[in-house]
Assembly symmetry: C2
């Protein structure tokens, strides 16, 4: 075992703005040996998610950041190579947070077994994992979705947005997506069944959105910030709710936008229209996991809820894939296939 | 009756910025005669409230605005002069929305009788009226006050803020007020029992507030906007809640403040700290009126909750008093005594 190489991607520098290649470093070392009560896991899929950009910043946030020299954090789907742990057997598939590396040793804490006969193992970091649950609690609990709500979802073809919109459709709402490329918009309306989708690439985004929201917006699921947020706000109805899940368009921002300070205008609307804006993080809602698995798992089995994965081949391509994610280039839940997935029939 | 004069204050022009004298006009006409099923009411108290500034603007808002030439709207406490209405008798005291005028005819719709032996009739537009109930529902329902919350209240000596802070104290919270003049700060801590109060006149407001909020802020009751809001935001704890009741510092704003657009920064904090910002208007919470009357009425009788009125004598002084209200010059619930209150022992 110790003759094998373990490749890791570590933070080389805190990025200023968009992360560049030299903010990361690919390092090689020996595959670690599991001690008593430990297991060695080979990474099959590395999940790439927008929140990781925040972890690369210095300074305090809601979760511990990555220090320079540390392996980049992230959720992984893997297979047990060696186990000295009574709870895990060689060959079992597991969900863990091993980060951007090919192998990791674990004491089993926080490791969850995956049954490949129930759902594809990759879904444990996607539609049946953190992104799916983010959509579920954000829409239903934080956003308090109501019958007949007119819903707008940004990043609509993404890992979270696609689930948000489909749940809202299942609940009988009118759903408009915002996405980038035309193929994503087509997917959102054609495959996922949203009522409409507008592109944030359009020079007339404000008008485009207004045209497909003739009755305004009751719930905006905020994934992106930036100009989509600006286009949405004027259309919010009285008592509209805005669960704030992410602000990906702003993650690489190094200075505040020029122009007058619009906070008083936003807060004035909050008052007059009785808006509710609430940030949330899925980890604060773990108690809802059984409901999430029951509902979303059921909708997937019944075919009511679809999902799409964007799988990048090869660990060495993780940095480029992550950079593309922050530019909105992925199409579906972004994963890096780090090693072979023997469970997959394609 | 018809020989008596009815003075009215009407909107003469939509203000640009702070309302000036010529935005109002005092007009005189005959006292109207009540028809069948109607009653004539003499105004005793006119309530002056910050929301009235919004009603003076053209264009749609959550409530119908005042058109040029219309009598300014407002709640009034009055006495029935003549009644052709089976439900009301001459001499009875009533709460109604007769606006800025000395007399008004009503068909009885929305008129509520007041018993001067239960509470001073003036409280029907103050601590036991709309401002008190705004405090009650804003703090308990919209803000979801929790045990041990560290609460900050702006406009702390005002009609709403004073009730917010006292309820939070009754509920066992740590309460900091923000007010203007030193006498108001002294009143807030000395009379109302807040734990601390800082002045927004201070050049070091940010530092002053931080010093008295060493454990941050869990609930900010937003009455004022402006620099108080800016001082509060950085101190908000994870899961802090901000019921947005008013933005009085911004009501006269004619242009957005210079400087970069701070919306992305605010929304970034909303996400990372999982803040909840929610605007509300008391009229959306009428179902809570019985609870409000029971609780706040009880606290007043037990002496746990105090209130202060700022009574300006003479109808002709209403405009000046309202202008002062928007500058924060009132000290307690602002009322205009339009005519004699025979129930009052002073």
């Amino acid at each position: 075992m110790s003759s094998l190489v373990n490749r890791q991607i570590v933070l080389n520098a805190h990025p200023v703005g968009a992360p560049v290649d030299t903010d990361f470093a690919l390092v090689e070392g020996p595959v670690p040996a599991p001690g008593d009560g430990e297991l060695l896991v080979r990474t099959i899929y590395l999940s790439l998610d927008p929140y990781m950009r925040g972890r690369m910043n210095p300074g305090p946030s809601y979760a511990k950041g990555v220090d320079v020299g540390d392996v980049m954090t992230g959720q992984t789907v893997g297979q047990v190579v060696t186990s000295n742990h009574g709870g895990f057997a060689e060959g079992e598939f597991v969900l863990s947070a091993n980060g951007w590396q090919e192998y990791a040793v674990s004491d089993g804490q926080g490791v969850r077994k995956l049954d490949p006969t129930v759902a594809p193992i990759s879904t444990a970091v996607g539609v049946l994992g953190m992104p799916g649950m983010t959509a579920y609690v954000g829409l239903l609990d934080v956003g308090a979705l109501k019958d007949g709500d007119r819903v707008v979802v940004s990043a609509a073809s993404g890992a979270v947005g696609a689930v948000v919109g489909q749940i809202a459709k299942i609940k009988g709402c009118h759903v408009v997506g915002v996405a980038g490329a035309q193929k994503k918009c087509d997917y959102v309306t054609g495959e996922l069944g949203f009522d409409a989708c507008v592109s944030h690439y359009s020079d007339t985004l404000d008008e485009d959105l207004r045209a497909v929201c003739p009755d305004g917006i009751d719930l905006y699921f905020e994934n992106v910030g930036g100009k989509v947020f600006e286009a949405v706000v004027p259309l919010l109805n009285d008592f509209a709710r805005m669960p704030v899940c992410g602000r990906i368009a702003n993650y690489n921002m190094t200075e505040l936008p020029a122009g007058p300070n619009e906070v008083p205008k936003l807060m004035g609307l909050v008052l007059v229209r009785r808006l509710m804006i609430r940030g949330f993080i899925v980890f604060d809602h773990v108690a809802r996991q059984p409901d999430f698995i029951r509902d979303v798992g059921g909708w997937i089995r019944s075919g009511e809820l679809k999902y799409r994965e964007d799988i990048v081949e090869g660990f060495e391509n993780a940095v480029g894939a992550f950079q593309g994610l922050l530019r909105g280039e992925n199409f579906g839940k972004l994963l890096v296939r780090v090693s072979d997935d023997s469970t997959r029939q394609e």
